[in-house]
Amino acid sequence: MVKGLVKKYGDEAAVDGLDLTVKEGEIFGFLGPNGAGKTTTVRVISTLADFTEGEISIGGYDIRKDQKEAKKLMGVVQQHISLDKDLTVRENMMYRALTQKIPAEKRKERIDKLAEYIGLEEYMDRTIDSLSGGWKKRAAIVGSLLHEPKVLFLDEPTVGLDIQARRLIWDLIRKLNDKGTTIFLTSHYIEEIEALCGTVGIINKGKLIAHGSPSDLCNRVGSTAVEYHGPNHATQYKYFSSRNEANDFASSLDETHTVLIRNTSLEDCFVELTGRKVGDE
């Protein structure tokens, strides 16, 4: 739970009065363009950065007053691979198990079990740098799961990965969620959020501008989209609450227009609400 979160760098607010509640057991998608405040929010929640105002609690523990207890509930996979590249995958895992204070008798068992679950066994004795991007990310995910966190923060988990690796990470996220892990996923890949998340929050310029299920957000804009362009090829969009209204509008356009009628997507919703495309600087 995040209440009134403000994070300022000098006079500039990177996060500006953010209120957010993520329900236990859900996959929450945190969507926004680059520079919207997603990563800052995750860094603040995961205790890596301080904040200027507001309250944050994880599983009922205030992250300032009960930081150690809150940290035990969280697993964080950062956007950048944050493993020690001088050590092997197994050594990184053991190091994480130690610093997460996992009891001695459970360390090896958990590492082996998770490595098998994620299919990492054959890479365990290789150095981090010898792995491909997808395997590095999976190793990072294993590291963040060793202490069995209740909430897993994934900051842009598939950025820079090829499509096969991306789909494998998506399957893994679903599997983890099925086992009861709450997932907080930030991404600027709209299809990733649509594919995985039951609830979405859209952040823009440090503020939460929309919150709800993807279909709720689409309905807010209009469930049917008309995408059309005339001789100048400038594509325009209009949204309607029913297909009939959309058809009526399409019929009113003259024959020089090319028209596509389709369901409204989360990307349409994002552009309408923020006035920016996902990925815009």
């Binding site: 890596l48 930081q67 150690k68 204070k101």
Partner: protein, 251 residues
């Protein structure tokens, strides 16, 4: 409580111990190379036939070089590795998200430097003992002085690694702070031979206190207890600075 603190410290230092295991030969060679060169250049080259305070120059500079090695090995190893872990590997972030006390993180991260400093200084002093056995002595005060020096410079290395936001900034710090200390803080000559105004400035630097305590304890001179106390104060100050930087998230 104390047991938990030391256990957490061990957990933090574990990764660096594994790194040392992977690179032990490289560490040994690189740690003793520059002190051996100083010994050859200043001890046998420039210093042949010289006497200082009634001692052969070689016996005079060996404790100084041992103190200098505690600086270069401890500071160099911890500042480089931790700075890389912080800025490039980002693995320090992972550590900071674990349920560990900040004091244990600071002590654990500095242990790598302290161990390397102790090993390198020990090797240099062992060579010195073989070369000037009639003048040099391994005493408990020598061990205490070297251990304190290694921790002071290791904590300083942690501070530099936490504050430097680029490799360039780290190099600048080394050039402005570490390099002058290397040559001026009584390692190759007695600070007392300088004008009083320079002595005051040099006694504000930790390596001067390290040099005088290590030299006095190994040559059997009157021991400068005040310098040992000042060295301890440097340890506490650098440790406290590191705890402050991490707690206040100033990194």
């Amino acid at each position: 409580m104390m047991f938990e603190f030391f256990r957490e410290t061990y957990y933090v230092m574990w990764g660096d111990l594994r790194f040392m295991r992977h690179t032990v030969l490289n560490i040994l060679i690189s740690s003793v190379m520059s002190p051996l060169l100083y010994l050859l250049a200043f001890g046998f080259g420039l210093g042949r036939g010289l006497e200082v305070d009634g001692l052969p120059y070689i016996a005079f500079i060996i404790p100084g070089i041992a103190a200098l090695t505690s600086l270069s090995a401890s500071f160099g190893s911890v500042s480089t590795r931790l700075n890389i872990q912080r800025l490039y590997y980002r693995s320090l972030d992972e550590m900071l998200m674990c349920p560990l006390s900040v004091s244990a993180i600071v002590l654990g991260k500095s242990m790598h430097g302290a161990i390397r400093g102790l090993v390198s200084s020990g090797i240099i002093f062992a060579i010195g003992l073989a070369m000037a056995p009639e003048h040099l002595h391994l005493t408990p005060l020598f061990v205490i002085s070297i251990v304190l020096s290694c921790f002071a410079f290791s904590f300083l290395g942690v501070s530099a690694a936490l504050l430097a936001n680029t490799h360039q900034a780290m190099a600048t710090f080394s050039n402005l702070v570490i390099l002058p200390m290397t040559f001026l803080c009584g390692t190759f000559f007695s600070v007392d031979s300088l004008p009083t105004v320079f002595q005051g400035a040099l006694y504000a630097l930790p390596l001067t206190h390290s040099s005088v305590t290590v030299r006095a304890s190994s040559l059997g001179w009157d021991f400068p207890w005040i310098s040992l106390f000042v060295l301890l104060l440097f340890c506490v100050a650098f440790f406290a600075l590191n705890v402050y930087l991490i707690k206040k998230k100033k990194i």
